[in-house]
């Protein structure tokens, strides 16, 4: 008898689709049925369309806003390509959540420095909004965000909101500027250059700040070098690792790095943990 089947997904309905960039859409989803869906920032799901297969996608909404689930999906392959063709009211299949998320409880009281590149803001947005919804429990919040161009900035509504808040500090930059970007008058935007150029401006302090970082491989590499130079301890830098998690439950071997499975032991790791993992970055 097959009792609990960990591979069986549930049906979720698309209630809203937000075009973030030319190749990133955010899907706001509601679950059909009553099965509770309890998750932590940093966890991921396997999303699928029958006939196309599954894709591991990190959750970008926060459990502090439990009415819906949001996934921001970049069009990169077969499954994500088909997802981009869906409309409101369509149904997708989801199983999860999987993995070890960000340690939001342990982060209480800490001064937090977020460093994000491109779509890498998606999992961090979950933590940022979690922290903002429980603002009193956390210390200072600084968000540094970089993207290739103005068009590639995701979550522009959140960015505008974060930029206007006095209880946090957002600085954004793009690799290649444009008039629409440079002429803006809000203090958080208008900069041109890679995200590491924001390090000096944000008054980061390795003695005080705990850094959460996510983005493309090349950005993480340079940002880590900058953070280490600034004296950050590897145990106080937290990131998420990308791998093609197929099963999500520690069986299929695709996300194996050293003795760890990214799908169960991660995707969130401290740099100290990663330094012991041979090939992680």
């Amino acid at each position: 008898m097959l009792t609990h089947n960990p591979y069986k997904p549930q049906n979720w309905e698309i209630k809203k689709i937000i075009d973030e960039t030319p190749d990133v859409k955010t899907f706001r989803l509601f679950q059909r049925g009553v099965r509770p869906f309890i998750y932590k920032p940093g966890q991921f799901v396997e999303i699928s369309i029958p006939g196309a297969g599954e894709a591991p996608i990190s959750i970008t909404s926060t459990p502090t806003r439990p009415d819906y689930l949001e996934l921001s999906i970049k069009k990169t392959g077969k499954v994500t390509g088909l997802l981009h063709g869906l409309s409101m009211g369509d149904v997708v299949n989801i199983r999860g959540p999987y993995g070890r998320g960000f340690p939001v409880d342990e982060l209480k009281g800490e001064d937090l420095l977020f460093v994000a590149g491109g779509i890498g803001l998606a999992p961090l947005r979950s933590v940022i909004n979690y922290v903002l919804d429980r603002r009193a429990s956390y210390g200072e919040v600084i968000v540094l965000y970089g993207a290739r161009s103005y068009d590639d900035l995701v979550f522009k509504d959140d960015l505008a909101l974060w930029g206007s808040r006095r209880d946090m500090n957002l600085l954004a930059t793009v690799d290649a500027g444009c008039d629409e970007w440079s002429d803006r008058e809000e203090g958080w935007c208008g900069r041109v250059g890679v995200v590491t150029t924001l390090f000096s401006e944000c008054k980061m302090d390795s003695a005080r700040h705990l850094c959460l970082i996510c983005g493309p491989h090349i950005m993480i590499k340079f940002a880590l070098a900058g953070l280490m130079e600034a004296g950050f301890k590897p145990s106080r830098i937290i990131t998420t690792l990308e791998r093609m998690m197929k099963c999500g439950i520690g069986k299929c071997g695709h996300c194996n790095i050293g003795p760890k499975y990214v799908c169960q032991d991660g995707p969130v790791f401290t740099m100290e943990e990663i330094s012991r993992l041979y090939e992680a970055l």
Partner: protein, 344 residues
């Protein structure tokens, strides 16, 4: 312990079949020894070194449907027609049973348990046929996994002269012999059994694995991985024949308009696409990094994650099938020769 004459083995297998059990055993198919269903009146081939593939496919098929999607039902339904019945895996070598007991069970039955493997495993009775003769690649004694087992079987048969000595390893094994009038072996027969196993053990190659996990730790950047992988044609054969390899891929198959199946298929860490991520980035793009992963996983990572032995049962299949003649034992020797000479 019981004794069963060679010519009574057929009765035993027929009895299992009449008990509505599905008997799977070694057969000679055009010169290859493979595990297949033994049909009515069909008898196993018992004169063989080892089968081309371990019998893991009967618990974890090369390709299986795990979920079905039919639009009418608007949801994925678990595929439950596992066709497992009550199977008897007859004539398995000790090394391959070790692969199931210590490795596949550990992975698939740990939390959350895999329901497909679990259902098949529960219904499978294991009848070991101990080895009398190794070939030049066999090194099960070095892995404590043969030529015969001490525990972990339902029945174990050891060939002694014109008879088989039968060891009963579980209540299920006891039930497999229900209704048969079998004699208890004499002291001489028990002595003969021990002699047969010892002789086989002595002839096996020695591959000293103890401590290799400590040495390999310092060899991540060593040149040996590039040297060894020069001979790898990335066919993945070593993975597919390995009784401890378990990696799989998951993908969908469209059966007809709207009807899809979610499949899983054996996969191999030697294949380039194994670590392909969104956007096409491949984390183990260089061939040597994939070969290195295989050896690190067998000799260190599995042990670090689960404890217990190295993830090798000494069956020798990876060495036998490698078109580039990459030999597991030789690589272990190479690793040990680098002790204290690590580049890093």
């Amino acid at each position: 312990m019981k004794i069963i004459p060679e010519n009574k083995l057929a009765d035993l297998i027929n009895k299992w079949r009449s008990d509505a059990r599905h008997v799977i055993g070694p057969k000679n198919v055009h010169g290859d020894i493979v595990f297949e269903t033994l049909e009515k009146d069909e008898q196993p081939c018992l004169d063989f070194l080892n089968t081309a593939l371990p019998p893991k496919e009967f618990l974890f098929p090369m390709r299986e449907t795990i979920l079905n999607f039919v639009p009418k039902e608007d949801e994925w339904t678990p595929f439950t027609n596992l066709n497992e019945g009550n199977i008897v895996l007859f004539g398995i070598r000790a090394c391959d049973v070790t692969g199931i007991n210590l490795f596949l069970d550990q992975l698939f039955l740990s939390d959350p348990p895999d329901p497909y493997y679990g259902a098949r495993r529960k219904s499978a009775a294991i009848v070991v046929l101990a080895c009398e003769e190794p070939d030049e690649y066999c090194f099960c004694p070095s892995c404590n996994s043969g030529p015969a087992l001490a525990t972990g079987f339902d029945l174990q048969l050891i060939h002694i002269g014109d008879e088989y000595l039968v060891q009963i390893g579980s209540p299920a094994g006891e039930r497999l012999l229900n209704g048969l009038q079998l004699e208890t072996p004499s002291m001489d027969q028990v002595g003969l059994k021990n002699y047969v196993i010892d002789e086989c053990r002595k002839k096996c190659r020695k591959v000293e694995l103890e401590g290799v996990e400590e040495i390999i730790k310092d060899l991540w950047e060593d040149e040996i991985w590039k040297e060894v992988s020069n001979y790898c044609i990335r066919c993945g054969g070593c993975n597919f024949v390995c009784p401890t390899c378990y990696c799989f891929d998951m993908n969908d198959r469209v059966v007809s308009s709207g009807h899809s199946q979610r499949m899983r298929t054996w996969d191999s860490c030697l294949l380039r696409g194994f670590t392909r991520m969104a956007g096409g980035v491949i984390s183990r793009d260089d061939k040597f990094t994939r070969l290195r992963q295989r050896f690190y996983h067998k000799l260190l990572f599995w042990k670090e994650k689960w404890g217990g032995p190295h993830a090798c049962t000494g069956c020798g299949r990876c060495s036998r099938v490698c078109p580039g003649f990459i030999d597991f034992g030789e690589v272990v020797e190479k690793i040990k020769s680098r002790a204290g000479h690590a580049d890093t």
